[in-house]
């Protein structure tokens, strides 16, 4: 059941479900600003995933829920809809101490972000040149 998103992603024109067009509208077409945000994103996502894994290992579900909430906002604002939804689900399950579901959702989130990060890198390379 949790394998679904990867298949769904194949049907979409963009890998990893990232609506770059919507994001650029939000940024008023500012390429330099996009770059700035993506650099922040690269850092923050790594940090937040690390925090999540640590919280999971320590069974700190409250901490996990908080980190998921932060990621939800960040991903939503960057128009990474599917990942934002997964983060929202993770926020909910961890708040309710649902260990198994939370574990699965975190794995799903990691996969989704793995799908998006190469695109982010590509975008950064493009803006740079």
């Amino acid at each position: 059941m949790r394998k679904q998103p990867m298949e769904a992603a194949v049907e979409q024109p963009r890998q990893g479900d990232w609506d770059l067009k919507e994001l650029m509208e939000r940024l008023g077409g500012d390429q330099e600003f996009l770059r700035e945000l993506l650099v922040m994103f690269r850092e923050d996502v790594r940090m937040n995933l690390e925090k999540s894994r640590k919280a999971m290992a320590e069974r700190d579900y409250e901490g996990l829920s908080r980190t998921a909430h932060t990621m939800k906002g960040m991903l939503g604002n960057l128009s990474m809809g599917a990942a934002a939804e997964t983060a929202a689900a993770l926020e909910k399950t961890s708040r309710e101490n649902q260990q198994d579901d939370s574990k699965e959702l975190l794995e799903k989130l990691v996969k989704e972000l793995d799908g998006i990060l190469p695109e982010v890198e590509a975008q950064l390379a493009e803006v740079k040149s």
Partner: protein
Amino acid sequence: MRILIAEDDAISRTLLQRTLQRAGYEVIAVENGAKAIAELVKHDAPRLALLDWIMPGKDGVEVCREVRRRKEQAYTYLILLSSRESKEDIVRGLESGADDYLTKPFDVDELKARLRTGHRILELEDHLVEARESMRFQATHDLLTSLWNRGVIVELMSHEIMRSRRERSCTAVMMCDIDHFKSVNDQYGHAVGDEVLREVARRLHNSVRSYDMVGRYGGEEFLVALNKCNPGSAVSRAENLREKIAGRPIQTTDKPVSVTISIGLALSTEFTECTVEEIMHQADMALYAAKAAGRNCVRVAQPSGDSKPVEEQSKETQVLAP
């Protein structure tokens, strides 16, 4: 327009900040609720705020409550940012004192439209405050001279007399009346008469200390209360007021008009057993005595009932002076 953003996620904060800057706002961005409160209760705080609902420490709802509780000055328009959409959450947010809420991720056009609503509310608030202040002024001041009106000057003077009794100091009450004012109106018309009233009011007001009080008591009658007045110098200060009016003609748009005033003076220390009304009556009687003595002079109310001319009174007050 200045706006505060409180958002703990750096990316969301930066995004909001840049978006609002591009829309022409001056942005103050903070990353938690405590800092948001500190900014919003400052004297010249921004009047618009976008508050993330969930933040470490104090969350957006707590910020709303705290700002509403602590701030008495100008209204602050508060918008909560939330990914929560359940009805109970929205109700809870609005009941905490938020004016509006926005769901994340925000849509730029919607955000701008909601902020315009905020502007409208703040403008409305400013107009109301302005109208209230103007009405407050009109309710307490005389329209023509901008001095305290009769009700207020009597009330303020009553408080002052009560206080001077507690503190064993003296309040000097002066009834001042423009001599032959009717003939000014008859001779030059009411417009010039009004100019004379305004100028007499201005000179009286400018001749007393900032903590003394001057009000328009009636048509051409003014009430002056000198607080913490040395009884020995009350007469010379009344003389000074009289001289300020008689000393030089009043320049009106028509021609210079010379007027004088008569003053009845009563010292609260001379009437310790009297009510405020009785003291005012005493000052009134002294004013009649001044009119009877030929006008353009000061008469002092005596506890015995006779109003003495200034020369005699001066000797007496010198004796009384410390």
